[in-house]
Subunit: 421 residues, 2 copies
């Protein structure tokens, strides 16, 4: 039989050690968000292509694994193009399914609706180290809360979760799409050019002020606008964090929406006052976040020591309305689950577990009543919360014990057919 | 925008109340099996079609959701048949992936390998009440243990899990494929006819002795063989349980493999002596279990009060060898996760949770420092393990509180902009 032992291209098997960590992290996430009143939901891994292609997914829409129609619906001979053969696919994120879920069940759900969704998503990306075609996403959203109570609670809950997982010294970088726009307007860019300008600003981390300047000029923007724009960022390099907001207020004048400034000030000071983990929250005027659906606050978890972002999110007040036909304010956070797992694995994180893990080594040939009596002991210990593994003794007992120690067994009991052995 | 609110045909959204139960059951399963030394693993939801179609899946192979090739690999114009367009699909069970996983990683895994795998599987079945095209499977397997230590531990762990979930008064029905064959041989059926005969015997529960007799005659078997065969089952109706094994030994003589009889006797007495839940384990000579890969012991969880089986499994000593090229004894149990969830929902099972669930109702317009102070109180309570939901107060406060009570909130705190209110 020609059997393929490897998983399909770009997807991976999860071995016990990693799975134990994944289960632990999932448990901490679920427990922590529950403390904040979030409830878990689940949606099918398969979505209709009509929804997946509704322009909310950006470039991910090009990476869909499509599922073939079946039976009579599959008309191969008549098919002219791919989409004649398929009408569903694997989800590439949890946002489209969440919004569909909310549109489908709004009447049965509390308002605001605080949802936690963890599940696999699939993207036909070119496989590369640490990047898989099937990976876990972890999204936390508040639908129906217009004020920044949503942002504050999302950030407090998420950072509290990270803290419980042992992370510290990270940053929450925060900005507001409205401030990004106000700055561009002040510099004289036209509204149609904002998206293109922001794509360049988004690279500030990598290419620096000079790189951004060069790229904007190269993209054909006037020297005057670029100078004025870059002047703001130079000023913001001196006036860091919350000082930056004051600097913008003074410099931009009426161009700066007072609401947007107040929004960030309130979020930053409330998070700072009430945080339950060691991190700092900073205003970052270069933060853009790729997806076009964001309408207000945007934020990101930055862990520079681990090479970048471990999640992010923001407010997307228009998207649910497009699906539901009724405006619904929304704000969400997506935790970079796979990245966090990778970091914890690399750091050799030890999952807290049962303290007493005992292996019973029983001689080959032990059976019947004798086996039953041994299992009785094991059952008794398990009732008391111990972890008991009952295995046959190998010829090379020393080697076997070493292997079991690597699996975390710290006690051994040996059983022989003839107890005098 | 034409958005589809419903999930795709035959799949379902999971609302918070059900999700809470599912998470709870998953937690109890993972914790209980860990006590028995099982470790969790995970495999991709997508498998190569070559593996899915390797004849281990029986009729499920007809129900595969196939995934279209992408990019250059998809040659629509040249495609003559379905399989020219696809080389992978969604898994229909967890057994094929487990065996592939084991073949791929045998060198990195302990022996015996005690695996727990929970995950979604997909079957393009005709949708019907309580039966979905995406559903959770929960498989527990021991690879590499030839003796009935595997069967006994699997049954003890599984029944202990069911007990912790509140199930009692159920039955574990057990049989051995070898005894089924010995009985058929004694009656004079030819070896080629066994599978067909067992399909009829499998209906004993529904059509009774007379129905089985009629169907066997109708299928062309000799009256002599049918009479002799039915005689055995009549004798077994009088000699129930372990007595049935003695009756078979006396009646079948050399036709009955002594090993098979001893195997069941040992399992039944050891499980009886060490069980950690209220159930009975009984020898059931009519138990067949559909899949052709079983080689020895077979068993099933019977809950007649809930209309049938809630899981089952058995020994399949030949299957891993076919994939790995090296014989590996194997024994597994599959828990009917979705059925168990459905029963617990129907019975109104209350998920044990946080005792103190408090909702803070805050007046609309509370923001800034005042909001921050309230969140400070919430953070303090959460640190102490309480669940705190912070929501805006609605105009109809009474209605809002009722709704929150239904979500399990039993304490309320109200906050007003003007504290004198």
């Amino acid at each position: 039989m020609a059997l393929i032992k490897k998983p399909v291209t770009g997807m991976k098997d999860v071995l016990p050690a990693e799975m134990q960590l994944r289960d632990y992290v999932i448990g901490v996430i679920k427990e922590t968000y529950a403390r904040y009143g979030f409830t878990s939901i689940d949606t099918p891994c398969v979505e209709s292509l009509a929804n997946l292609n509704s322009k909310q997914g950006g470039d991910n829409e090009k990476l869909i694994f499509k599922i073939m129609k079946r039976g009579e619906k599959l008309r191969l001979a008549e098919a002219k193009e791919e989409n004649d053969l398929t009408d569903s696919g694997l989800r590439y994120d949890l946002t489209v399914p969440l919004v569909r879920f909310y549109a489908n069940h709004a009447n049965e759900l509390p308002s605001p609706f605080k949802a936690l969704q963890m599940g696999y998503v699939w993207r036909a990306d070119r496989p590369q180290k640490g990047r898989y075609r099937q990976f876990m996403q972890c999204d936390i959203d508040i639908l129906g809360e217009p004020s920044n109570l949503a942002e504050i609670e999302l950030i407090l809950a998420t950072t509290s979760t990270l803290g419980k997982l042992g992370f510290k010294g990270f940053q929450i970088r925060i900005n507001d799409r409205r401030i990004l726009k106000d700055m561009a307007a002040y510099a004289g860019f036209s509204e149609e050019s904002y998206d293109s300008v922001f794509i360049t600003v988004d690279k500030m981390d990598k290419i620096g002020l000079e790189g951004v300047e060069a790229e904007l000029i190269e993209n054909g923007y006037s020297k005057e606008s670029v100078d004025k724009y870059l002047g703001l960022f130079k000023g913001l390099e001196v006036n860091k964090g919350i000082e930056g907001l004051k600097f913008l207020a003074e410099t931009l004048g009426d161009f700066l929406e007072a609401d947007a400034k107040l929004n960030l000030e309130e979020i930053i000071s409330s998070v700072d006052a009430n945080k339950a983990a060691e991190f700092e929250i900073v205003f970052d005027p270069t933060l853009v976040r790729g997806m076009s659906y964001y309408t207000g606050t945007i934020f990101e978890i930055a862990m520079p020591q681990y090479g970048g972002s471990c999640g992010g999110g923001g407010r997307y007040d228009k998207m649910v309305g497009k699906f539901l036909g009724q405006e619904t304010p929304a704000c969400g956070f997506s935790i970079g689950f796979e990245r966090i797992i990778m970091i914890m694995m690399d750091e050799g994180f030890k999952v807290p577990g049962v303290a007493d893990k005992t292996a019973y080594l029983i001689e080959k040939g032990i059976s019947g009543q004798m086996l039953s009596d041994i299992l009785g002991q094991a059952q008794e210990a398990r009732k008391n919360g111990e972890q008991i593994l009952v295995v046959r003794m190998n010829k090379n007992k020393k080697f076997q014990k070493q292997a079991l120690e690597e699996q975390g067994y710290n006690n051994f009991k040996e059983f022989y057919k003839n107890p005098l052995n």
